[in-house]
């Protein structure tokens, strides 16, 4: 039984696939430009970066972007940063 809002599932799934492809395709470039920083991406372009999640959300809010309206990720080459 499908209990997720059906009108939004298809779009969310499509967006998820696009986002995953974006990170896989651009991660090395992002790592060179934004090492150890959070980045926010809209339509394939980095619109903000910051050293902490709180700072990134402040920056995106200043641009009028609400959570869910951009992709975000912490860009690192250090596995310890993600796990500790």
């Amino acid at each position: 039984m499908n209990m997720l809002p059906p009108d939004r599932v298809e779009r969310a799934a499509r967006d998820a696939a696009e986002e995953q492809a974006y990170w896989h395709g651009h991660y090395q470039d992002l790592l060179r430009q934004y090492p150890e920083r959070f980045v926010a991406v809209v339509a394939g372009e980095v619109v903000a970066s910051a050293g902490s999640l709180a700072q990134l959300l402040e920056a995106t809010a200043r641009r009028g972007l609400q959570p869910g309206e951009f992709w975000l990720r912490f860009v690192t080459s250090d596995i310890r940063t993600l796990l500790s």
């Binding site: 209990m3 939004r8 896989h24 991660y27 080459s77």
Partner: protein, 147 residues
Amino acid sequence: MIHGHFDPAEPYRLAPRLQVLIWLPDISRQLVAVDFLIDTGAARTSLHAVDTLGRLGISLRRLRDTAVWPGRSSVRGIGGHVDYVQTTAHYGFLHHDGRQQTIVAPIQIAASDHADTLPSLLGLDILQRFDLSLSWRDGRVTLTERD
């Protein structure tokens, strides 16, 4: 059969991930895709700040409101002590053949942005419903429904 992927970050490429649609009907209208780290060392599935604050738009003030979340637990893990609240989640899994599978089950939400780089974790409470196969050689992450 559900396909996951390995993380694109070079030293982290060994880490298996799975995108799952998440809906928390009691607290958010957002339906989002969360790129969970598959963590067989985690007993319970949990959302962390990058997804709760950055995707679902749930504020820290709300997560810390004891009137909204009467029960909370403190969990010690590799990220240190973190306070969690709990709600009901609808997990949407997208199968390779286009079928969608929904699981309704609890989910823990970190009530802190202390470990803001920690990914959300897909734990054993959900993983045990599937057979999990990882092939680093072929770059494949696969979950198969258990009979």
